[in-house]
Symmetry: D2
Subunit: 344 residues, 4 copies
């Protein structure tokens, strides 16, 4: 059985660490290279509890990553770095799974506003399949470049898209508040993310301006036909990993409450990683360190609104796990391969 050689670029960030862990145990992957300037020359086994040959890999400087010898490269790099690296790797025949936002928005015109840079790869952007298998599976088979979804976008789109598609909820006036663990901000020295500042605190940030907004709208619109401008309020919560999204949508006239749960169940029947539960039972702790999304919806008929709640681990289903799931889909492997994570 073919074993695919893989590289992780940006291997010392939180998503890169998680990729390394997962790929080191993936039965169809051999980790061939890990790139990180910060840990350059250290052994991977000294940084992570790896077993087997991956433990002996040494981190290499990022500068060499474009020339890596591997069949697939997972890019856990800033969007601007991915934008530059991906075409070089693709040109050399290396398959790319990019975890940044560099290839998510479809339309280059959106980049200056939401990402703060001009996009110079419109063809790649237009062609990149979106690595959310539950909503975009068809486009993933055989993909050479996969654009892995954002963490918030994953949690929110999985909850919202089927409800809008079902017609039970309206595509306009959607309001989302989502709380994220601190690892969502990446690994960095910053007083803002210090234990003393984050512990016992909650704060909203980038209200209505988070770069996942157009990504969510695009994903919902592609799946459900239409999505009006959506209001998104991210909140920083004192947990290390995990996202809980609460999404309020307008109920369509005549929509009955019981139909909401059925719409979600129908949408995700057979999905190995999505579990529909009562909205009051969705908990970050149940999905932490797994590739799962737990979600549920309830109708607040008094208010004419539906509330959908969804939880993921931002580093797994929101990043590394989903990247591996999409890679599996692209390779024609069982999507769950290497993703039998224990949680806890």
């Amino acid at each position: 059985m073919h074993t695919c050689t893989a590289a992780v670029v940006g291997a010392s960030g939180y998503a890169g660490l998680e990729l390394t862990r997962i790929l080191s145990r993936h039965p169809r992957v051999r980790l061939a290279a890990l790139f990180s300037d910060r840990w350059s020359d250290d052994e991977a086994g000294a940084r992570l509890p790896l077993q087997g040959p991956a433990a002996a890999l040494r981190y290499r400087p990022l500068a060499g990553s474009a020339d890596v010898e591997a069949e697939v490269a997972f890019l856990a790099t800033p969007a601007e770095v991915s934008l530059e690296l991906a075409p070089r790797l693709l040109a050399r025949g290396v398959r790319v799974v990019d975890l940044s936002g560099a290839f998510r928005l479809g339309d280059p015109a959106l980049y200056p506003q939401w990402y703060g840079f001009a996009h110079d790869q419109p063809e790649l952007l237009a062609a990149a399949p979106y690595g959310l298998p539950e909503l975009c599976r068809a486009e993933l088979a055989g993909a050479r470049l996969v654009s892995n979804p954002g963490c918030y976008a994953t949690a929110i789109a999985l909850a919202v898209a089927p409800l809008v598609k079902s017609g039970l909820c309206l595509p306009d006036g959607i309001a989302v508040t989502a709380m994220s663990g601190v690892s969502g901000a990446g690994r960095k020295a910053s007083e803002d993310y210090s234990f003393c500042e984050v512990g016992e605190d909650l704060r909203a940030y980038r209200i209505g301006r988070h770069q996942h907004v157009p990504e969510i709208e695009r994903t919902v619109a592609r799946h459900a036909g239409r999505c009006g401008p959506l209001s998104f309020t991210p909140v920083l919560a004192p947990i290390r990993r995990g996202i809980l999204a609460t999404c309020t949508l307008r109920l369509a006239p005549g929509a009955s409450p019981g139909e909401l749960a059925r719409a979600l169940e129908g949408a995700y029947a057979g999905e190995p990683f999505v579990r529909v539960v009562p909205a009051d039972r969705v908990k970050v702790a149940d999905v932490a360190r797994t590739n799962r999304c737990h979600l549920g919806a309830t109708a607040d008929v008094r208010a004419g609104l539906a509330v959908a709640v969804s939880a993921i681990d931002n580093l797994v289903k929101g990043a590394a796990g989903q990247a591996v799931q999409a890679f599996n889909a692209a390779m024609g492997f069982d999507e769950a391969l290497g993703l039998d994570l224990l949680g806890g």
Copy 2:
């Protein structure tokens, strides 16, 4: 200068502890009695870092609280206990500040649905002033019975009421997600609130069914003229105290974004405990262990929605501090008396 004798009933719960701390230092109050079955006969100074005469008080069994000799009794008791105690105390001439929901909803018909019991004191209910001075100051002067607001209701009503009253936001379709610290659930032995279950977790609960919903709607309607049914999703967050509420409202046609902050600033000019800040700067940590509410609003013009964010300490501005503030108002004292809390 007159010093008022005060009793705390339910003194070993989290709100009762906070009341004891605050009242022990209040310059116009002498703590005369503390009632708690759990700590019956213990000295208060062994339970709390009190200085002065309050430290020597001994907790007494709740059974004797109706006969307390004091000018005012603060009831940090379950709603059904308050409902039974308040009339007995009032009949004996004891002023009552009730921290439960027993006297909050105005209409007895709402109690079976939202509180699970029938209300047998409709006259008291109709007459009880609502202890939210910033919105209901007029009715507090001289009050014999004050119904202290709920913690979520305080945070949400303070943010929402002025925006609706201003006409900049519509009274319908309001959607709120609010995260609360664990002390909001009270002090009790419960696996659900154990460190292992709450730590690193986030979960929604009682979506659309929380008992503060009718309280919020009533408060906003009284202040702003009207409030449609509001959707409220409470979330349990791994902090010990504090609430962050994110409130999404529909912008009125033609409402300009800058007007939102001005409406809040106008509403709370001169208020010692409300501070209007940019919505992205509202943090639980800034109000923890104070009687303050920090709030702000921003317009998401793309989506035609306004987002208001507000933060309080659920045990202070959401309970004990506000009770003292309302008591000060009822007594004609400076509202800030005894509330120069250090935060931190």
Copy 3:
């Protein structure tokens, strides 16, 4: 290749959950039964993110566990329950790995003082191999009853035993402080372990009286020849899982500092789950959710003392993982089988 059928008794406690996770993926094990009164009749897959056939198992009442059809039973039950269950299972030919203290102390006379009950199985007690492979591997091969070590005892004995055996440290006057996560107290409804009481707190408990004291002394003495009475101060820390032990020993006259690390390295050369690192680099986070122990030692020559620091995950190397490791040893499997845990 033979696959062994296994049962977990006490499957809904924290150690039982961890056993279920690990065994569900163990390549030589088929989970045959899970016993838990609390979750009786629930599907395991509804409680844990299991994949494969284990997900369909239903929890069964504890009462039936003595009659289980399985080759091995892991008992995550209180000591008094294990004491009663183990002989019945052994009599029916079921191998037993007991995670309680029921078979740890060797001498029945110690039980009334340290465990509060009289031990009525002196033969089993005398014969039970101690499941700490790094120190007691020889006695584990083929064992029918394994007594799995306590969590504190594992962390402390692994650090202390080789230093005493080496002669670099004296066997008398050993003083240990060890901080444990809250899951060490088990899963229960208790105000003492509530988020509000544990969060932002640290407290010592059962100083000098913890039931792991005689277990540690016995293990060190068996390994190193002698161990004087040891002073142990456990501390409850606001983490969910993990133990950090700081052990202070008297340096032998003439002992040179560099020898301490070498003694540890020599003792654990080739061990898959013990890693010797500088004492200042031992971190709970590095071993969380793994079966590893990280440890190190340094000499405080000024004070004539050695300080050894050790970290484990109390639920893995301190309970479920070690139980599987010892089971692997008893069965003649590779000790690391099923224990390629990702950490994080």
Copy 4:
């Protein structure tokens, strides 16, 4: 009654913030100046929940602090800054309370090893009273320069000194492990103190090399006559503030266990801020946000060792609160003035 004008230098660090809070409410102090480069020109009331005139103070650049017009300056600055500032302020007649280690060790020869710099003010060093009123009250009356104790040193010396002085414990072979909250590391941008790295972790650091070691030994020796080299292992714990110290000492021959508690009670009778409790009841949560130290001792007679446990808030009794207490002592005020903190 005289009101003393005070300045805080280094007002935006964690200790400086706490000083500002406390002094803003101190009945015999008028805050005259706050120095902080980071917040230069901001109003204090925008940073802290201050009431009254202190809220209107504007932070000023540190460069001007040597010329401040105030009767007393509290220096919450690094040791090398304090070393340079203190003589300049004293020369201008400004009383100084220094919270750094610059004047703690008595002997300049110790500075290169423990602080990494040469001390150039031997006369000031020799003369500076040590601001631990419970052990050094006599030298504080009228002091112009107070050297405020370190946080660990406070917790440990208060527990250890009376036990050694009593003769019940020996002055040699003392071994201390103390866990500290993250604010002890100061306010800074550092990945090491980020929420993701500190949360759910415990780690030891600077074992035997922490700069408080000679300070503790000096304090114990001055109080008790002698103190042998002491072994100290600091541990970083995931709390924001607070220290729990566990100190193991050798019991003197014939020392009876009950005598330990009596020795502590005798030593601290009448002290407003020290409370002797059973060692198993010492909790950080009980002293958080107060100027209190809770401590207790127990004898482990089997091991011939005593274990003393002590808890303080590192920012209050371990820094700002104790500085105010020592200032009160120096001024001849009631030591408890301004320190009626609520805790919680």
